[in-house]
Symmetry: C2
Subunit: 207 residues, 2 copies
């Protein structure tokens, strides 16, 4: 079997199945069957099941992080030393993640938000390496917006923002509990969700 795209086919199949039933509940035999490749190809190309996951996650969060840095650079250059508007800052952190994951990579949000809560070998270190510098810059920029807040207050509130965002992303996959008076179409709308999250976190930082 030729197939120089074996690696990509495995990645695609894994993304689909991980999102559907979760990482631990998906077997390599299911993935390789869907991708129409041999079982051993996974270990050849990725070393292990965890290695496959790691590459999948890296492909997803690196562009998000680069976009955040790009927008932050642009906004700070335009502000010319003045503190940014808090709402703009919150949006710069949230919008690239929500947009990338909801529009370009339809099935990654669930995978990613779950991973933040379940420990995996080597994955936390990778996330910390990629996201650490960004987080430091955001805390510093937030401190300039809200000088009356302590660094501890800003850090824990940034943590709340991440939690709210991850929970929103996972929301795509679950069934909503039906609640009287709530229109599901409104809640499912991507722009509605994004604006609500930005409003919630902006007010939360300042409150």
């Amino acid at each position: 079997m030729p197939g120089p795209d074996t690696k990509q086919r495995i990645l695609d199949a894994a993304q689909t199945l991980f999102a559907e039933r979760g990482f631990p509940a998906t077997s390599l035999r299911e993935i390789t069957k869907l991708a129409d490749v041999n079982l051993a190809a996974v270990n050849y190309h990725f070393g292990s099941k965890d290695g496959l996951l790691k590459e999948l996650v890296n492909e997803c969060i690196e562009p998000i992080n680069k976009e955040r840095i790009r927008q932050l650079d642009a906004a700070e250059a335009e502000a010319g030393g003045q503190p940014l508007v808090l709402r703009d800052l919150v949006r710069i952190f949230i919008e690239p993640a929500v947009r990338e994951m909801c529009e370009e990579n339809g099935s990654m949000p669930c995978v990613l938000s779950r991973l933040h809560h379940e420990p995996h070998a080597g994955l936390e270190e990778m996330m910390a390496d990629i996201l650490g510098p960004t987080i430091s810059r955001f805390i510093a920029a937030t401190h300039r917006c809200l000088p009356h807040r302590t660094p501890e207050e800003l850090m824990i509130r940034g943590h709340f923002m991440v939690g709210a965002m991850l929970h929103l992303l996972d929301f795509n996959c679950e069934e909503l509990m039906p609640v009287p008076g709530v229109n599901k179409e409104v809640i499912s709308d991507y722009d509605f969700r994004l604006e609500q999250l930005v409003s919630f976190c902006t007010a939360g930082f300042d409150g």
Copy 2:
């Protein structure tokens, strides 16, 4: 081996190990070895590994939910038909969970917050059964506090609140990324975290 407390010893061992390394990474053979019981005892008492998890979760969230309902009943009786103060309402939802999980059941927060993001057979239904009526009452009470907000806005913001809370609970187990100027002792303090979360969500609902 006599041991009429076999069941409880399994539950204790499972809670410890699930919190330490996560549910999927913990084998029944490790649990039964730590509990000093036979492997098959798990399936006798709980039916399956998932059944064990389900009972563990149920034991944990039912008292939290009862306490929320109790406090909500008391507050609404005292208010005598008037809308509650938003901050009190937020605290009634958050405080029982944070207190129960941080003080009485030191190792459950991680387990619980992870489960909210990884699908497990039958577990979502159980959560929905237990939490559904409570959530409906909170949305209704919030709507009386903030009549200018639509039900969709209140529901999605309640979802953000849950996400922030779960992320905070899981925070106990992780190592914090070191950030210059942030005192880890302050961030680790239970009262500090609770008050920050209440402030963040109260402002977020209204913002």
